[in-house]
């Protein structure tokens, strides 16, 4: 049972602040590190895996600083986002070399177990450079698992995977988490995190935006005011009807159409067709105006 602790961690590159005063504690089980691209997820993972020294604050594993402490790699498995490996080697040779570098007593057995875990034993004798993106991802995963680490750090592990591979990796991470390992993976896709992570840490623009149980954060996300852009045959009459119905909080009439803000997402979506029908106003276009992940995160930050 291991815990990765970040205490008031900041990291800047020149004038750019990539991570800003983040404090978090990642314990056993699966944790998702969620945030839009460029939020600082990779910088956080780099610091947790000892590849980047925080500009301020401390990163420790069970109280031991991870920076400049190679002995800790016996307990940490890392899956980087970068795709490059030693491409001229076969899957088996590469994972085996990783096992040897970990100074394992029986590198061949460890290699077999790791390749089995990611379902790559059948392709073990092919060159890594000839693998698909999803297969490379699994080989990376095997190198991280080969020494049976207590802590597993994964940077965007689902990138480039097809649905079947994704299911397989999801199950594997869940199993590792259930075993009591500390599994942290980063993602910019909400749905990926939803299925397996018990806990999530949300980072936006280098700051920690939310932290805790996934469901409550999900609720925060779905219950936020939703913005819609509507064009219809008669915007003004529709605006009046929407306000009269009470399913939306605010309606703004603009030359481009109606801007509607609804805090109860479900109720508004249900009400809109009914209103249109009863007032006989044709709807031309209904577009969610702020469904991008960035706006979801931005909302969380502003709370």
């Amino acid at each position: 049972m291991s815990t990765v602790e970040l205490n008031a961690v900041s990291r800047w590159f020149g004038n750019v602040v990539a991570v800003n005063d983040v404090t978090m504690s990642i314990g056993p089980g699966v944790t998702g590190l969620l945030g839009p691209n460029g939020a600082g997820k990779t910088t956080l993972l780099s610091m947790m895996s000892g590849f980047l020294l925080p500009s301020a604050g401390t990163v420790t594993l069970d109280g031991i600083p991870v920076w400049s402490n190679p002995e800790l790699y016996r307990r940490i498995g890392l899956v980087p986002e970068a795709e490059a490996m030693f491409d001229a080697m076969t899957g088996w040779d590469f994972v085996h070399a990783n096992a040897e570098l970990h100074l394992l007593p029986d590198p061949s057995a460890a290699t077999r177990a790791a390749l089995d875990a990611v379902d790559m034993m059948d392709s073990r004798d092919r060159e890594i450079g000839k693998f698909s993106k999803g297969m490379k991802q699994r080989i990376k995963m095997a190198t991280a698992l080969v020494h049976d680490p207590e802590v597993l750090l994964l940077d965007e592990p689902f990138n480039g995977m097809d649905p079947r591979q994704r299911m397989h990796l999801l199950a594997l991470l869940q199993r590792l988490g259930a075993d009591g390992r500390t599994v942290l993976f980063s993602s910019h896709i909400l749905e990926e995190v939803e299925d397996i992570a018990g806990t999530i840490e949300v980072v936006v623009a280098g700051r920690q935006a939310a932290s805790g149980d996934f469901r409550s954060i999900r609720r925060l996300m779905t219950e936020r005011p939703h913005q819609y852009m509507i064009t219809s045959a008669n915007d003004r009459a529709l605006a009046a009807a929407i306000i009269a119905d009470g399913s939306a909080d605010a309606v703004r009439l603009t030359p481009a159409g109606l801007e509607v803000q609804a805090s109860d997402f479900g109720r508004f979506v249900e009400a809109l067709p009914r209103i249109a029908q009863s007032t006989a106003i044709s709807l031309f276009e209904v577009t969610p105006a702020d469904e991008s992940l960035e706006s979801v995160f931005a909302y969380l930050v502003s709370r």
Binding site: T42, L45, S46, S49, G50, F51, L52, L53, S68, P70, E71, L72, Y73, R74, I76, L78, P80, E81, A82, E83, A84, M85, F86, A88, M89, F94, A97, N98, E100, L101, H102, L103, T143, D155, E156
Partner: protein, 241 residues
């Protein structure tokens, strides 16, 4: 020293493309040596001049550049070095293992090419081959250490290395008196000059005396290794694209 790191480094270093380039450069030197022999009737003075200027002055640093940067630069560039660094092995050990592979490879390629080149171009009882072979070995060690350090310190090591190798060592150090004193090539020629002291007409000369030259070579090599190891110890590594 870690044997697995060394093994992986050799495999990556002697991948197909780089091997072809190294053999190609060595072949180029031998071809030029053949032309010199044919054109000058195996005159030792011409052989010595060509092997010093074209061989030691140009091709040796270029080969050391390919090897010294080849053992580590691309791994830092594409991020695959994390697979070596995320292991319970001190970074110092990783640096030394890679450096030893680079030094060994450089020595084999450059000294073999130089000795064979001198033998083809023209020699007398292997005296020139011994002298220039010694100079090449010393230069190889220092160049490889310097390029290895450049590979870790610089973001575009090949360009920095090429400018240094071709402009500083190849051109400036050949003609400009002040630059000659701070050139690995000139330092490495000092023992060659001493070995050929009975043949002043062969024109194998260095601007420095033997002792200061060897001291400077030693200092440069040790300093380069120190910088390389220190930099790798604190090198921030990107784990993403």
């Amino acid at each position: 020293m870690n044997l697995v790191v060394m093994r992986l480094t050799i495999r990556a270093l002697l991948g197909r493309r780089r091997s072809i380039m190294l053999f190609g450069i060595a072949g180029l030197l031998l071809a030029v040596a053949g032309l010199v022999r044919w054109g000058t009737d195996a005159s030792i003075t011409s052989s010595a001049a060509t092997m010093q200027n074209f061989g030691l002055g140009t091709l040796v640093p270029v080969m050391c550049l390919l090897i010294g940067t080849g053992v580590i630069a691309s791994e830092i560039e594409d991020g695959s070095i994390v697979y070596l660094l995320a292991k319970p092995i001190p970074r110092r050990t990783i640096a030394f293992s890679k450096l030893v592979v680079a030094l060994g490879t450089s020595l084999v390629f450059t000294v073999a090419a130089m000795v064979a080149g001198v033998a083809i171009a023209g020699d007398q009882d292997w005296q020139l081959a011994l002298a220039l072979g010694t100079a090449t070995a010393l230069a190889s060690i220092a160049y490889t250490a310097v390029f290895f350090a450049i590979a870790i310190v610089s973001k575009s090591p090949i360009i920095v290395g090429l400018i240094y190798a071709l402009l500083w060592e190849g051109v400036l150090a050949g003609y400009i008196p002040g630059v000659k004193d701070v050139s690995i090539r000139q330092w490495a020629l000092a023992p060659a000059e001493r070995l050929l002291s009975s043949h002043p007409t062969w024109n194998v000369t260095s601007d420095l005396g033997l002792t200061p030259a060897l001291i400077l070579l030693g200092i440069t090599t040790v300093a380069a290794v120190f910088v390389a190891v220190q930099r790798l110890k604190t090198l921030p590594i990107k784990v993403s694209e």
